[in-house]
């Protein structure tokens, strides 16, 4: 399915540099601005972080700076809490992304229907995304408070709960509550994106399928989902990265507590860097996190490839 233009150019690339530039130059030219920004602000710090992970860098003890090769990695990986925080980080990441996707796609399909008040509903469902994280976290912390939060008060009044639950302060519910709030804040982005994808599905196809007798589920599975595949893959991958690395949301809601029940590697990295000022250790943790993310993404592409081939 590749365009003919490129096929052609491929054949005679190595022979004539001039022609090569003529054919491909525009591709590099178009990429240039993006590369320029990324190199300055991402790649250079990225290399710096990678390098620092082999050094003992402690801002509080500047004289002790030295090349220590893998010591930072060893000390990170030999700490049993590392695996606990990794596990919790994965729960947080996948719990959030799955929840966001489900709510996102359902709301996108609902909002794509031909109904009255569509604009109104769109505006409302879009709003959580605009609430700054600081405010979102503080407001939810207040709402979920067991003593003076409206959520518990209402549930008790209605009779769903016998007594208030300390959602964010109990080891069993804290992670759930944190994910719940994150889904609330993030799902509108999925809605907006998936809605854009849905709008590009020609109405005629859906109508034709309906006339042919395809039910809602069939239309969903065989027409809607496949046509959203590309967009879905991208937003899922991007959010896996974003969520896995995110620290401020959990930090503002629970500070990783109670007793580290909601601590993730991102929080550990933050604490190492800006509480303990152990930048070497924090860099090693970041490097490990990057490797894990790369692993997740490779796995994702492999699975996708297998599905496409199968």
């Amino acid at each position: 399915m590749q365009p003919r233009l490129e096929e052609e150019s491929r054949l005679n690339l190595s022979y004539r540099p001039k022609k090569y530039i003529k054919k491909h130059g525009v591709a590099y030219l178009f990429m240039l601005p993006a590369i320029f920004f990324l190199i300055i602000l991402f790649v250079l710090p990225f290399i710096e972080v990678f390098k620092m992970s082999f050094y003992s860098v402690n801002l509080l003890n500047p004289e002790a700076e030295a090349f220590i090769f893998l010591d930072n990695f060893i000390s990170a990986l030999s700490d049993p809490t590392f695996y606990q925080y990794l596990y919790q980080g994965l729960i947080w990441t996948f719990g959030s992304v799955i929840g966001e996707y489900i709510v996102g796609i359902v709301t996108a399909i609902l909002l794509n229907q031909n109904i009255r008040g569509k604009t109104f509903f769109r505006a409302i469902i879009f709003i959580p995304w605009l609430v700054p994280i600081v405010v979102a976290a503080m407001t939810w912390r207040w709402i979920l408070n067991p003593d003076f939060g409206i959520f518990n008060v209402m549930l008790v009044k209605v009779g769903i709960l016998d007594e208030s639950i300390n959602w964010l302060g109990t080891a069993g519910t804290a992670m759930l509550a944190v994910i719940f709030v994150n889904v609330w804040r993030t799902f509108p982005f999925y809605t907006v994106t998936l809605l854009a994808g849905l709008q590009s599905i020609p109405k005629e196809i859906l109508e034709a399928a309906e006339i042919d007798g395809a039910g809602i589920w069939q239309r969903f599975w065989y027409i809607i989902l496949p046509s959203l595949k590309g967009v879905s893959a991208v937003i899922i991958i991007l959010h896996v990265i974003w969520t896995f690395n995110n620290f401020d949301f959990i930090w503002l809601l629970t500070e990783g507590g109670p007793l580290h029940a909601t601590e993730t590697l991102a929080i550990t990295t933050y604490l190492e860097a800006f509480e303990k000022y152990h930048f070497g250790q924090a860099s090693a943790l970041s490097s490990i996190m990057i490797l894990i993310l790369i692993g997740i993404i490779i796995a994702y592409f492999k699975v996708e490839k297998k599905q496409n081939n199968g």
Binding site: E255, F274, H278
Partner: protein, 447 residues
């Protein structure tokens, strides 16, 4: 300036080129003039230069906050009195300031003066970003008006590194009406009295005492209990370095164990709310202000809740915190610091000492001044400041690697079955680990 220009040119280039190139060969391109992307760089005329030093001041005061009006007025006064110095204040909230100062100072680009909290000072000093102010302070005529324990909290390794600007002392606060209703006339003086009184208060349907198990407040409460019990998280050894002694000194350990016993007893007997482990300062303060918690240890900011909770805050009274063997309380000293890398340290010191002088303090800090020359007024000012003698703050070690374990130890005692002894030993080990990582650990355990 130049770079800014170039940057906007770059943007302009991208935008205009996109417009021009987007045209198709067959259809005639609309050649409208779109060159100017409205950037009008008005040239700042180089005003004839006076020899005037501009001091960049980062502080948490907001120009539009009614309470901070006097602070800004004071800056203007300073600028008038010192024609060669101009202080330029920028409001930076404290929670942003901490990381921002580290970032900018480590990059060699710090502000000239900044608002700092005393728990940051040791770390800043170890990073080598705080100059030694001892000599200049010793020359200052009003030095004696500041109590020695305040200078102590602002000193690291015997050097004064910051100048106090504001004082926040913690006191025992209680709702007098709730105590009266329970037949209690006197606030408790010791831990035992607190526990005793709690049995009566519980019948009033409130939590007798309030603590915080999370965020910045929790370790501040914990360390006060250690002091009140006669121990500390780290002791300075003869070699000038520090060490936690609980693992090697059974007597010290016992004192620490009593603290965790107190936490456990308070939870078991319902002296504190069952959710206390997840209470940050907001939860604690709100619950106290609303009268759901009868007593707590807290600072003068609680006064701000009077507007929110006028009814339930009416009966709040102030006393000394109950203690075990040694009376002690937490003293929060807000201070100004200048930084290595600032080109105007001398002027900065002039400003900081001017700020602390009796004359200025009367203007800006009538209620909570570190300068004893300022007469305290009203229940809030007086009640807190008479506790000045008991006031202490964190020892001279970097707290970054210790704060989190301290919070963990509180949560362990409230949420797990671990024994007080296990918890104390665990915390002691964490503290010594952190000291070791930062080169602050004394290797000579004194017997």
């Amino acid at each position: 300036m130049k770079l800014k220009r170039r940057y906007s040119l770059l943007v302009g280039f991208f935008l205009t080129s996109s417009l021009l190139l987007s045209a198709c060969g067959s259809s005639g391109p609309s050649s409208s003039e779109t060159n100017k992307s409205g950037t009008n760089n008005t040239k700042e005329n180089s005003v004839e230069k006076q020899e005037k030093v501009v001091l960049d001041l980062w502080w948490s005061m907001s120009a539009n906050n009614e309470e901070h009006k006097n602070h800004y007025a004071a800056i203007e006064k300073f600028n008038q009195e010192h024609p060669n110095i101009e202080v330029k204040p920028q409001s930076i909230p404290l929670e942003q300031a901490k990381d921002k100062i580290i970032t900018s100072a480590n990059a060699g680009n710090p502000p000239d003066v900044a608002d700092v909290l005393n728990e940051w000072l040791v770390s800043y000093h170890r990073m080598g970003i705080l100059p030694d102010l001892t000599e200049d302070i010793n020359k200052w005529e009003e030095k004696e008006k500041i109590p020695q324990n305040i200078w102590d909290t602002l000193s690291v390794d015997g050097k004064i590194v910051a100048v106090p600007s504001e004082l926040g002392i913690r006191a025992f606060l209680y709702h007098e009406d709730i105590l009266k209703a329970a037949g209690v006339t006197e606030p408790p003086k010791t831990w035992d009295e607190l526990l005793e009184l709690s049995a009566k208060l519980k019948e009033q349907g409130v939590a007798p005492f309030g603590i915080s198990g999370q965020s910045a407040r929790a370790p501040q409460e914990l360390i006060v209990y250690f002091w009140q019990s006669g121990t500390d998280i780290a002791h300075q050894m003869p070699d000038g370095k520090y060490r936690n002694l609980w693992a090697e000194n059974p007597e010290e350990l016992q004192k620490a164990v009593e603290v965790y016993k107190l936490y456990k007893t308070m939870l078991k007997d319902g002296v504190i709310n069952k959710d206390s482990a997840s209470w940050g300062y907001r939860e604690l303060d709100t619950n106290f202000a609303q009268g759901r918690v009868a007593t707590t240890v807290n600072g003068p900011w609680i006064k701000n809740y009077e507007a929110e909770q006028p009814e339930s805050m009416k009966d709040v009274q102030i006393a000394a915190p109950p203690y075990n063997t040694v009376p002690a309380t937490f003293m929060e000293v807000g201070s100004f610091a200048t930084f290595e890398g600032s080109e105007h340290k001398k002027e900065a010191i002039t400003f900081m000492t001017w700020w602390l002088s009796e004359e200025t303090q009367k203007l800006v800090n009538p209620g909570r001044s570190p300068n004893t020359g300022v007469v305290q007024d009203g229940k809030w000012g007086e009640g807190f400041n008479k506790l000045l003698d008991q006031g202490r703050s964190f020892p001279g070690i970097s707290m970054g690697g210790i704060i989190q374990p301290m919070i963990d130890s509180i949560q362990k005692s409230l949420l797990t079955e671990e024994s007080p002894e296990e918890i104390a030993l665990w915390l002691g080990e964490q503290i010594n680990n952190s000291l070791k990582e930062n080169g602050e650990l004394s290797e000579s355990p004194a017997k």
